[in-house]
Symmetry: C2
Subunit: 297 residues, 2 copies
């Protein structure tokens, strides 16, 4: 990767664009006198990394599509789905978290019923936005299909179920890996693949990008586990050490901190390898792969 690529500016730029679009959706569609809309905006705009939308945009760029509003629509839908999953995962009956992205979780700020409904509504809004895309764009339906599968009972939701079942149990590395492939890997892969689909990628490109995404998805989770051990709660906007307290199986717990870091690095190298034959338009994807294991939050 040429030293000239400035990932920090790239991330800031894309984050700003995604936030602008999300704000636009909120201003254009929401009735802010309604508590449901207030809770949806609150969680959506609580300041996430916007990793999934940025991966979607960067994948479209990698196959030659820049600044396409269709891709941005899909990117925003991905963030809505990710946000809904956080709102529901934080609920008292689930992980019972009080703090998210440095702010009180949705059910703490509002109440439990509102948080359940706001999550439901963010998920539904994502599919409303994607169905508009399916009407407007020839690949919109296919993108939506990938996203809905990844977000559902064979993907993210099954992963959260396994995560809950795994509390106070010791998983082996394979079960842990599989759980993460469901919980975070599937939607990250769908983010990359949907961006590429909307940019009319060839099927070999889709395959390579899917391999890239699977590796960084797992690297992301390994890094999350590492940050939970040695991260700075102020930088992360959430508590550290919670996995240990909940007796969760983690990579550092199962393989040690050093080998976990080496494993994350190996996964990122695999990701870089998968897209090595693309031309320089993969600079953002390559830089993102490195960022995923070097991030502090």
């Amino acid at each position: 990767m040429p030293a000239s690529f400035d990932l920090k500016s790239y991330l800031e730029d894309k984050r700003r664009q995604v936030n602008q679009w999300l704000t636009h959706y909120i201003n254009q569609r929401f009735d802010n006198n309604r508590q449901l809309c207030q809770a949806m905006s609150y969680s959506l705009m609580a300041g996430g990394k916007r990793l999934r939308p940025i991966l979607c945009l960067a994948a479209a760029e990698a196959v030659g599509q820049t600044d396409d509003p269709h891709v941005m629509t899909c990117a925003c839908a991905l963030e809505m789905i990710h946000t809904y999953s956080l709102v529901h995962d934080d609920l008292p009956a689930m992980d019972n978290d009080q703090l998210r992205r440095g702010q009180p979780t949705c059910h703490v700020q509002f109440d439990e019923a509102t948080a359940i409904l706001a999550g439901d509504a963010l998920l539904t809004l994502a599919f409303e936005v994607l169905s508009e895309l399916a009407v407007d764009h020839p690949m919109g339906g296919s993108a939506m299909q990938r996203i809905s599968r990844a977000a559902g009972y064979q993907g993210m939701i099954e992963g959260q179920m396994r995560d809950l079942e795994a509390e106070s149990k010791t998983l082996d590395i394979d079960s842990l890996k599989q759980m993460h492939e469901f919980k975070t890997g599937a939607l990250i892969e769908a983010a990359v693949v949907s961006g590429a689909l909307l940019a009319h990628a060839a099927s070999a490109q889709i395959g390579a990008l899917s391999d890239y995404a699977k590796s960084i998805g797992l690297a992301f989770q390994v890094t999350d586990d590492i940050l939970n051990v040695e991260g700075d709660p102020d930088l992360m906007g959430k508590a550290a050490g919670t996995d240990l307290k909940r007796q969760k199986s983690t990579y550092p717990g199962l393989m040690g901190l050093g080998p976990s870091k080496a494993f994350a690095r190996e996964l990122v190298n695999n990701a870089l390898q998968a897209i090595a034959h693309f031309d320089t338009k993969t600079q953002p994807l390559s830089a993102l792969a490195n960022y995923i294991i070097e991030r502090k939050r």
Copy 2:
């Protein structure tokens, strides 16, 4: 309506078909060793009236389309959305109901976390199925757009939010009506309109069917309120008298039992009027309109 039309057989026949399709989805897709899938099947197959899917099928028939698998796919997605909304509405943080369709509610049968995730997964599966439809059928994207809007923050979910906010408050008739238009009316309308869209209805037909649906949607809710006062819990598969206990605003409470029945009849007459200029293929829709206020559960 000619006396020859046998609504009972029609309903039984369609219900059987919808249940067969839902069973097919479950058998083909679900891993029944997984608790998430078990909870999804449990709630989906707990034996509902299947009113929304039947309305979708009947609307397609009214514009000349019979036995189209695309319409059936959409009908099943509607039932998944309806079922998810029941699973979430029954949660302790919401209506805290123990009994649904004569069986323990999902969070009683499993647990709260599983019920939240099973609801999320049924909603996501509905959109997975609809996205397949969007890829296969030229009107699939439009049907999905109508359904996602009706199910979301401007429809069903906002209705549930208002219903919760209205507890222990007295609403006036207009606010009550508006709440129901959101909570049940929007999805019933989307069921009818999506069936018609998939059957390539002309826009004047869509308009007439939308009017029909709005009237029966409200009639359905007025009748629900009446049944909550004087219905038989054994026939309904759920408790009666709960509205009074929760101090909910209802039509019988605000306008009296007799005038509520007259209002429901007037709404059904409006519905019949809206589709009066269609030919005899509206027999099922007409019979359904009458059934909606005459039902015992």
